[in-house]
Symmetry: C2
Subunit: 589 residues, 2 copies
């Protein structure tokens, strides 16, 4: 069962739902209104399908191996990485000025989906050109940029984000890695970092670590964290290797999944590093990147769900098993049927599709908001995009990763006993996608971020403005699709009631309701995407594509009738409050 | 973090919620009203904690290994198995007449929980004395019983249940393994079976396969399936090994979890076997066993959830990470707090406890129903127990395995990044518990069995009678706990509405709603258990145990406010019908 990148679906979303051709005035969008969009996506699809996907299952079996400080990636990864770089997919989103392809995020996100759908572990190594360009945007580091950023963007070197330490993950204020100023303006770093993806490997000749550390004497907590560039090898001159630095890989983690991605323990011992930007601003700088990687979790969740769905869909169309409903009641046995003919199997398939399609729309829509925010010259459009990004980043990170994991579990379920066997190739998606609920800030942290920090800013202006858009889109549905408007209206009422309740609640009650609110907002966001998809399908899908539109309406109906109404249950949970369990002593747990 | 068998909790349930001391008139119950119950459970707990649990994580790492037709279990399994047999835990539920311990199921189920909580893979090898005694209850096989059943009960030999073939799992009517009658009254079996747990291993000197096969010329479908006993070694005389039989292990599966349990592909080539019972009655005979193993899935789900919860609870009481809610708003940073002090962490812990406690009650309550059904002389009590078993077996198998898996995922989540690392020891529960949703008939099959076969039998008498009991228990709640009655009443209304809708629905619509109905019935059953638990806690927990009662009330409230009300969402899903997606052509999926 080969992975097929969903090019047609992405084209429909970009051209008809998001109308990217209307954004020709934004940098990098000049190409996207022409045939070249299809060419770019098809080329990326071929790379993902032919080069990357075949390495997925073998890579999981072989896994990364650690030997004497080095990490060997699975067979074939090196060659695939070289082609990734040769084709320039690693720098799709990097601005052309810096030597990248300068594609809009909305296109780069689609490519990111394809590569992740083909091989989530491999994709972990692929984006350091872009990430480094975000981190190295500070003033006064022109020399560092010449020495390090160019090869990072070229992909001949790769990077890492080094935050977590053994005693602290989420709580970065507790970081202990120490940076001591040196007379030449550099720093000496000492400390240990864990869970560093790509901290050591054999795909590139050099690895550049972006490290959060504390300058000697810096204030306690998050106010004293600075960002450093610490290379494995110093740059002798641009792109050329110099001296080996004091960074050692102590080992790699044996993980539940994502086994072909090297998760490293790194030890910094008098490692030479350079401060990036102002001292004690490291957390803020890292958050520019973190917000991208959090949204990327949504992209990856869609990618993995799609891949798992494709396998399940192929299987149930081939596997003959079980009888048609109620055939057993008349004493006779009917002929065995395809699994696809079992109503409960169809229910699961519908559930997957009803999630995957709007989830893909949402990640692309959010990527477009980033494009607008970063490239538009219209202040009101920028501000609106900023609000959407702020509000919905936790949705992409957390709600899509929760639902994506659940989708993989359901896809696995359709295989019966075979789904539990490694060689079938579907359980890997469950193990790989599981990490998205944990990495880049566990999903509970996202809920806190949303409700305790973002939601009520400026009196909840961003939320109210988003709700208005959602409500308007629902009201614009044609009369024969009134069920969309009805379902959305009901859930918007639930959502607003939850918002109002949280607004007046104690911090503790609000915290205890945060996760459920986040999930509600996620469901409404997906419903919003369904209204946009259906509106576009009604306009552009011609007569011969009528069935295509009918399928989408059936999926939207499934979503509106069977998934969205859960907002009522979430509202009840939130408003039940939490005092009785927040006040329990520790021995009650 | 050592596993602790929940002896105290089980004693509370047995003595005060289920009142097992009132059943002294049933065989095997004479001991349970005395101190010996505590002694038995404590001894089983020590065995599980000290002998079995330490092998769990190493066993997952080492896994079973296949070499030239043989299977090597992980280090220590042989010794632990020997002690299991020496202590007689393998025959806890086997009747004393047959040489077993003759314990009530309700006690044996608790012991089963302890051993599974300690090590799910190991426990897979432990119950063949009991299973064989169920399968070998037929007439006319006295010699077979002497030759094979005695060593199976003694545990010197073990057994397997061999149903699945490469082309058929759920749909046993498609079985192809052929049995050819021989002049001496035996049969020659030829065919291949897959997914055979314990099909080959090094724990016992002999393995007795209970095989479903088709006698030459038998009717097609399930009406032509017979049950055979096919040993690895023939018995020379009682308990002594004779000739090696034509059963070969072709290999073992590399699975997502349960890696220390050998899942075998078996090839039968002119293997000698004996018919058990009448020809063509094999499926019915096997179902006596299957109904037990399906209920056992519920026991195992509770066991794994409890074990995962214990780890998470220990971790969040030690791990300092994150700040108290809203501390960040005033610009200052508060001192880092225990994870236990985060409201969202408490929400997750409560969710786990709110499920685990009534789930344990439910599996023990169901075991007691089996005791009553098999041992009572009162016809009305037997019939009532039969109805409960029929109705709720799918709940134990499917709803508890769904919720148990989810519980393990949530427990893992509390560890953040560490939860994804194998050595932390929590992700194994996710992988191990996953199988329960698939094995013994995938959960979708359970939903079909419930709604399409069991629910409407005798005009739904069993369902109505159960609903009456549940309703009565809710109404009996004291006034200060009126929230229990209110929540239960609302959900019972939902449940009955769903029942009525399904009753009038087409077969296809009913099939598409079956899974959601099953989950509703599961939630209501767990709620029922909460009412029984709270009623008992109010009566028996003395003043110094007041907190204990208060904790249970807080958990019950969490369940009633945050989990049970989901029945409303399920009802909406069911009644939305399924025609629009059941009618879609295959290319829509």
């Amino acid at each position: 069962m080969a992975y097929r990148a969903p090019v047609e679906e992405v084209l429909f979303l970009l051209q008809h739902v998001l109308n990217v051709q209307h954004y020709g005035n934004l940098e990098g969008f000049d190409d996207v209104s022409s045939d070249s969009l299809e060419q770019i996506l098809s080329a990326a699809a071929r790379f993902a399908e032919d080069v990357v996907a075949p390495l997925n299952q073998p890579g999981d079996g072989e896994a990364c191996r650690f030997l004497a400080g080095s990490v060997k990636t699975p067979r074939g990864f090196k060659e695939a990485y070289r082609q990734l770089v040769d084709d320039g997919w690693n720098s799709a989103a990097v601005s052309a000025k810096l030597g990248g392809k300068g594609m809009p995020y909305v296109v780069a996100a689609a490519i990111e989906e394809f590569i992740n759908g083909a091989n989530q572990s491999f994709a972990m190594y692929a984006d350091w050109g872009f990430y480094a360009s975000l981190l190295m945007d500070a003033e006064g580091i022109e020399q560092l940029r010449r020495d390090y950023l160019d090869p990072l963007i070229a992909g001949t070197w790769s990077g890492t984000m080094a935050l977590t330490e053994p005693h602290c993950g989420t709580d970065v204020g507790m970081i202990r890695t120490a940076a001591t100023p040196q007379p030449d303006g550099s720093y000496r770093l000492n400390g240990t970092k864990i869970f560093i993806s790509g901290g050591e490997h054999d795909l590139t000749e050099n690895i550049v670590h972006f490290v959060l550390a504390r300058i000697d004497g810096a204030p306690a907590g998050t106010q004293g964290i600075s960002l450093f560039l610490v290379p494995k090898f110093e740059a002798a001159r641009a792109g050329m290797l110099g001296k080996r630095n004091g960074v050692q890989c102590l080992g790699i983690e044996h993980k539940m999944g994502l086994r072909a991605s090297a998760t490293c323990r790194l030890h910094f011992e008098d490692a030479k590093g350079w401060l990036i930007g102002a001292p004690n601003r490291g957390l803020k700088q890292m958050f520019v990147l973190m917000n991208h990687t959090r949204r990327a979790c949504g992209v990856i969740a869609v990618a993995g769900s799609e891949a798992a769905y494709q396998r399940a869909s192929t299987y149930v169309k081939e596997r003959v098993q079980g009888r048609r409903a109620r055939a057993c009641d008349n004493g006779e046995e009917s002929k065995a049927a395809l699994l696809l003919d079992q109503p409960d199997v169809r229910r699961i398939l519908m559930r997957l599709r009803a999630f995957i399609e709007p989830a893909r729309a949402l990640v692309l829509w959010m990527a477009l908001q980033s494009d607008i925010y970063e490239r538009s010259r219209e202040e009101s459009a920028k501000e609106r995009a900023r609000e959407r990004i702020e509000l919905l980043t936790p949705i992409l990170k957390a709600v899509l990763s929760d639902m994506g994991f659940e989708a993989a579990v359901q896809a696995q379920q359709l295989f019966g006993g075979h789904g539990y066997i490694v060689s079938t190739g579907v359980e890997q998606y469950v193990r790989d996608l599981r990490v998205l609920m944990i990495a880049e800030g566990a999903n509970g942290v996202q809920a806190m971020d949303l409700v305790m920090r973002k939601l009520f800013r400026d009196d909840g202006r961003g939320f109210r403005s988003f709700v208005n858009d959602v409500s308007q889109a629902a009201q614009d549905m044609p009369e024969d699709l009134e069920f969309l408007n009805e379902a959305m209206s009901r859930s918007l009422i639930d959502l607003i009631a939850a918002f109002d309740w949280l607004h007046g609640a104690s911090a503790a009650d609000a915290s205890a309701g945060a996760y459920d609110f986040m999930t509600m907002l996620g469901l409404v966001s997906l419903g919003y995407m369904w209204t946009l998809i259906i509106a576009a399908a009604g306009k552009v899908l011609s007569a011969e594509e009528g069935m295509h539109r009918a399928y989408k309406i059936a999926r939207a109906r499934f979503f509106m009738e069977r998934l969205l109404p859960d907002t009522g249950a979430y509202l009840r949970r939130i408003t039940s409050g939490a005092q009785d369990f927040l006040n329990l002593p520790a021995d009650a747990f």
